[in-house]
Amino acid sequence: MVDISVPESLEGPLPSAQDSETGIYVYSIIECPEPRTFGKIGIGGRGDGVYTVHYKDLAAVVSRSLLVVYDPTRENVLAHEHVNEVIIEEGFTPVPMSFGTLFKTEKDIVEFLEDTYDALRDVLVKMKDKLEFGLRVNWAREEVLAEIERDDEGIRRLKEEISKSQQSSTYFARMQLGRMVEQALADKSDAYVRDIYEYLREAAIASRSNKPIGDKMIMNAAFLVERDKAGQFDQKVTEIAQRYEGKLSFRYTGPWPPYNFVTIRLQLERSAVV
């Protein structure tokens, strides 16, 4: 982690009608010595052109924008991501800025690049020709449950006992059955996730596991992959998805900039804090 101070860009109080002013939105940092444009795809729905602001061999990919707080709506997030997608298609490896990052002027951006140059260079070298792929896996819980009830000796026997017995003691047996089934489901889920990681590991440089979203999802991961190994990684994902067809469904996305492996964000400086 590297902290670098950015000089104050402007003195004075915050203007009240901030949204009538324009600033510059920054999507990511790339290595690029020559000015480039990437089309009229800027965030904010005004069709602002996306272009580069330079310091030495580094460039910030930017567009003009109103000085507003961008809500993380689907529309805004997709606009931000789309710009980075286009940059990747053009062969660059962007290091992404946090969503919603604005500067007042191009001069402020050049200062930011200058002050953060060493840290940005380090990160760009580290991330050179590396891309991120997302993999979310949902399971068909009912299918897995049916499999457990078929294959798990203990569960099957207990189930039979309960169905034969007419006594009130089945209440406790049912409780126990419930616990055993829950445990077996959790074990299955862990085993699937482990197997998938194991299978994909050799084709990736690194992985990060994020919290699954909702109760159908058992895996929510990001993989960092060499650009020239992306085809191989694709292939492996296809293979593992085939292995689990009917039980697990795979949602595979990318290539992304390494959102899960690098972040550049701005923090307010608090002069009072020592």
Partner: protein, 109 residues
């Protein structure tokens, strides 16, 4: 029938009821305060749209509600911290303030 209606409040386990109300209050409070809970719900909404569990209309209806709650939570947090006027904007959009850059690579860890 009448006996049952009259009897109900007395026979209800009061301690249990109080506990339930307390839990509801705690939950409401926590949900209101918990920015992460709302963010999780936004993510879930997105996933549900992508998985086809909800359609664009459902999404368009629910997203603004969640975003409004997110804004409320943030506004209240800032009010609680009694921040000054130039700190009312999130750092990403606060072009006037002194900002520092943090580069993180969780990749290393």
């Amino acid at each position: 029938m009448i006996f049952k209606l009259l009897g109900a409040p007395i026979t209800l386990p009061m301690a249990g009821l109080k506990f339930v109300f307390q839990q509801i209050a705690d939950l409401a409070d926590q949900e209101l305060n918990d920015e992460n809970a709302v963010r999780d719900q936004l993510l879930l909404l997105q996933v549900q749209l992508e998985d086809g569990d909800i359609d664009e209309d459902d999404f368009a209806e629910q997203e603004p509600e969640l975003l409004a709650r997110l804004r409320d939570i943030k506004a209240r947090k800032r009010a609680e911290m009694e921040e000054s006027a130039d700190e009312e904007l999130p750092p990403e959009a606060n072009v006037q303030a002194r900002r520092r850059v943090v580069v993180e690579t969780p990749f290393d860890e």
